[in-house]
Symmetry: C2
Subunit: 443 residues, 2 copies
Amino acid sequence: MTIDDRDTRLVPSLDGPSGPTDDWHTLSEDDRVHVFYSLSRGEASELFLSLDSADKEALISALPINERRMWLRLLALDDAADVIQQAPTEERSALLGLLDNRTRPEVEALLEYQDDVAGGRMNPSFAWIRPEMTVAQALAYLRLQAADRVPNIYYIYVLDRGEQLLGVISLRELMAAPATHRAEEIMRRSPVTVHEDTDQETVARILADSNLLAVPVVDDDARMKGIITVDDVIDVVQEEATEDIQKIGGVQAIDQPYFRTTMGEMLRKRVGWLSLLFVSQTLTATAMGVFQDEIATAVVLVLFVPLVISSGGNSGGQAATLIIRALALGEVRVGDWRQVMRREALIGISLGAVLAALGAIRVLGSEAIFGSYGDQFARLTFTVSLSLIGVVTWGTLSGSMLPLALRRVGFDPANASAPFVATLCDVTGLVIYFSIARIILLG
Amino acid sequence: MTIDDRDTRLVPSLDGPSGPTDDWHTLSEDDRVHVFYSLSRGEASELFLSLDSADKEALISALPINERRMWLRLLALDDAADVIQQAPTEERSALLGLLDNRTRPEVEALLEYQDDVAGGRMNPSFAWIRPEMTVAQALAYLRLQAADRVPNIYYIYVLDRGEQLLGVISLRELMAAPATHRAEEIMRRSPVTVHEDTDQETVARILADSNLLAVPVVDDDARMKGIITVDDVIDVVQEEATEDIQKIGGVQAIDQPYFRTTMGEMLRKRVGWLSLLFVSQTLTATAMGVFQDEIATAVVLVLFVPLVISSGGNSGGQAATLIIRALALGEVRVGDWRQVMRREALIGISLGAVLAALGAIRVLGSEAIFGSYGDQFARLTFTVSLSLIGVVTWGTLSGSMLPLALRRVGFDPANASAPFVATLCDVTGLVIYFSIARIILLG
């Protein structure tokens, strides 16, 4: 997407919490085309522009060939590239052929970049002036560029003849400046830039932190190649958050909306992690097998197995989630692990103590009312409470360290999902519980 | 925050993945003031403007009283209001007193709004013209407004004398239009607006969907009160994602960065959910108590308890996470529950079948190698596999329906956190497992 004046055409239909795109995904492809044709030209282009790239591509593909050209050409260059990227490889050159001779090479150049770096996100057209222009000359020149559909003229970039970026002036500054001043006198030098290979997450962070509306993209020789605008960044922020949320929930990242993901795709994205978790979790059966003697001696122990081990998983999931998000927002870095460990050890012991007290109340309460646990109840209470402190402390510590360790070795910390941490804590929790039971209950 | 030209002052220090604000949170308050004083005036204002509201407030409070005025006045009106909002109630009027007589009433008016509605997020200063102005007159008038530090002149709002919003023109359109045309001839009528009481999440969705740079805020009488700019929305999107992620991880939303949250606060935000989960989880001990006879008859059953019940929790957590995110992005709505249920029932059965096969392999493998389970191994295999299908299907269904049900009754769907769903599935999973065991293994 690009900041573009034509966007002001998006009128009352979007003036509420549920725009047309909300309903769009519940329609079949035929219905979509039908709806699309039922709209006036203005309404149809509003709707079209409000769709995301995948929806745009699907809609274009569903239209007769002779109508596709017009809709594709309605898009800004980076949007057109995104839409073509969504098409199956064999159909891309047909779509490229619909573009005019001037824009086709630019869109092709954009397609050369990976989708998730600055070069793949940027818009190659931007407003620029030469350093020696006066304010009056610059404003006149910009009126030409505005008429020529350069979508973004809010920042004006000052380039030398080698296309190297010398400085930047906001349109507001230019309008407020005396007409005879020269651009190089009023421009801000050494502006924030990103390299064309910079990762999109980093670009998003820079734009969000700096409050800029757009950031220029440069190549190795500091030549300016395009701009990335803040509205593109909203998409990146949303996408990255979605990816992290899905991973934290133990699902592989799904890049399509829920109803647009096929059942087969949905199954594939879920069955992998679930099977991996299951196979890891079979270790609990092994661990319990190891402690079969203890179980046979005091069957009452097994009643508290789910309670004790799930407490480790829950506290570990909390810690992992907090650290994953703090890493994503740049609040915590791998180098901070000692500080994190100190904090989480204290928090883990405190949380464990609270649950140990609750656990003791549960065992003692049951004993007082039902006399459930016979003469071993005091030792059982002690076993459950002590195990809870150990399991929760261990869960909190491992949950907080795992995302940092993953980041350290180059993996996405969000892979330390709540179910993954829970599985880890289930197995270790069993060992902690039965080891403590062996000492206290069975002596 | 406000889109503002002074932001272009944020220069090379931010030109990389870790800006100054990343390190900021690891410093003590004294160190922060020390660092701040060591910077040049230009660098200090860069740093100051890049901080979030809470950090800005903390820094201002740490400075001598006679220096606070300058820094507070450096901020745009909505930023100043956000900073003052962060201060303890008793200090707010002192901070308000630092503002000049012209801006104080406007900031006070902003403080009247709740922080999370459009009125609380908007900037009350914006560029406007009258409908009868010509393009040349409008441009000259805007140059005055730009000089008067109206921060955003990218959209020009056309207001009548009653301050009612008639239309909007982008600066680019204005610059490209013939000088003698009148504003009302070229403006776009009925632009997208939001009401001052509109929730910030809705505003974020409207801005993200519409590709607008800013949206005007109007009151009950359609009078224009201010604008919300797209960069404010990035913060909203990040905040909402963080809140959802934390809730999904079973933590109450924490609105401060990790290291800035005190240990006491951190503990409070975690102990509530954890205790609630623990108390719910004690039902597993109760459930296992109910099936004590079955356990006594076939102790081997308990070996697979963690494996079977955690599979329900994992599949339920996946489904809940997907639906929570799809709801947040508007991909799924409460009314779609039938469709979701159909899909998830099919997916649940399929996932259950895969895990049932893996479970059967595990039991049979153990039996073949170690002869672990005696002559009941065939029935045990059947019990474990059938339970897995039941537990996973139930987990997937309840995990997907719970967020929809919460939304339906007006709660935040993100409260259907992975650990909450897991706890629910642990209790019901035990009942399913032992009921099947009673029929197959012992029946």
